[in-house]
Amino acid sequence: MNTAPAIELRGLCKTYTKGREVVRAVDGLDLVVARGEVFGLLGPNGAGKTTTVEICEGLTVPDDGEVRVLGQEWRGGDDAAIRARIGVCLQETKFQEHATVDEVLRLFRACFERGRSVEEAIALVSLEEKRGARQKSLSGGQRQRLAVATALLGNPDLLFLDEPTTGLDPQSRRQLWRVVRDYQEQGGTVLLTTHYMDEAQQLCDRVAIVDQGRVIALGSPAELIRSLGAEHFVVVDLRDPDRAPEDAAFLSLPDVVAIDRRAGRIECTVASVHTALPPLLDMLEQQRVDLDGLTTRHATLEDVFVHLTGRHLREGGGA
């Protein structure tokens, strides 16, 4: 049995030309995805996630670097053998408008020598009631589940999901997450791209944060969050932001690790809320500063990204 990692990428580079502008979409990216894990590529739009995934899927040819998928290289003479072992859900696929769920799945099932039956695939994504429904009558979430079902038909060893829940309502997202977890429980490997932090935290065993075509952080979501040095935030809104205490006043408090000020709001990174909060409130009272609001929250992968790049994920990759 081939025990090579599901995906190995070494020094991957890909450049596009848009008019006169040369865009370096992937810039020396290294990555290893182990078998059986759900691996997330996390980053803002334009970070190079989709290009990386498309290179792994054999859709895009890299300018440089090594790519091994399930131990095999694309264009090594047997691409069909790789395709028989992978399942792909693109960012967006428009199936034929008048085709029913059943017909779309039959078409894709015909591509594979072995795999799941159409009935099994429909059951996996809970589309039994929509089996005879045409594309135009499906909701966004149902269409996306159908796309995932087409990817699962060949009973793949490796599943690529490119932003599978973008634009879906919370219920549809949770349904898709369940499909991914079920697939993993059966031994499957998933490479997932997303810009939803909660999705990455909920689903992924490991995450690579990608920015400007490079991996800037790699680890489990918990590890990455721990790398911040503190896992909680106390967010302080002052009635009069001009009277806000100096950074040093906050940083001198026990367990306060860092301070970030945005639009009059002060965000304190703290190791532990219950030890940091009482002295913080005391300090504000001593300085006679009135509070307008106070919230606490856990650190997320978004905070990791902000910590590493100084930007928010939704601000774009700048690549």
Binding site: E57, G58, L59, A80, A81, R83, A84, I86, V88, L90, E92, T93, K94, F95, Q96, F108, A110, C111, F112, E113, A147, T150, G154
Partner: protein, 347 residues
Amino acid sequence: MRWRVVKAVARQSFLEFWRSPQAVFWTYGFPLMMAVVLGFAFQSGEPEPVTVGVVDSPVARQRLALLEADPLLKVEWLSVAAADRALGRGRVALTVRWEEAGSREVLRSDPARPEATLARLLVERRMRAASSDDPGYERPVHEIEDRPGSRYIDFLIPGLIGLNLLGAGMWGVGFNLVQMRVGNLLRRIFVTPMRRSEFLAGYLLGRSILVIPEAFAIMAFGVFLWGVPFRGSLLAALVLVIVGGWVFTAIGCLLACRARTTETIGGLMNAVQLPMWVLGGTFFANEGLEGPMRWAAESMPLTHVNRALRDVMLEPGTLLDVWAPIAALALTGALCFTLAMRWFRWQ
């Protein structure tokens, strides 16, 4: 109405158009290109003569040789059967028969044909001019061609079947393929183990089969409603329809093999279809064309589909009679399919 809003929408629509090179080309470039090409093809000069068939006989040779002197007429001397056949197939606009000295000439044509009236006027003018000093001159008798198989509608129905094969085959495949490419469906199929040849062959097969009922519906319509004869082999007609569907779907596939947008494929389809509509022998016989126009018409698959369909509908044509066009069309389809497969772009 708020002018500011109208202006903003107009501006955006204008910019959207100019930023799409394909739309600009097919809107401005293509018509200009056509104007240049057609300008060369239809440059002013001597008008094309109208072809008339004269039933050959010693008395006709004596009297009707005068028609050959008219530069606007092209005379073909034919037997009775050949003249009828030529009229039915649209190769002559009118036939002239004069069997007996002292009797009146008989002109025969279907007034539904666009060129029939002109031919009749030209022949009558020539004969009247030649008899200007004969006070007893009588105008020729005019017979309307209404025998099944020789009327314009009989000529038209096989042509409409050919035209339908052209439209359904090319648009059905070409436009849909590009839509599938635009909607990422081709990319999605590409990442499965499906081979390019399997996909294209399946797609073409589906579309080719679709055109069979369409073609036979038009055929049945012509036969039962208009009394268009069906004198040849039904098997030959079936094979022709399948091969016709094949060649046009293969051309559609070739045109769509790299097109990225629906504007591009629309333009390409029109560029290929328009000349076939005009010169492919659907509405008028193209055998009389000369020079580059004749060459262009003869190189069009529609010309051969139409002629072969007329052979098996209007004449007792069998598979053996039309094997040559069938083979040529099948090979053309195979060539287009092979090229489409080689150049096909999934994304």
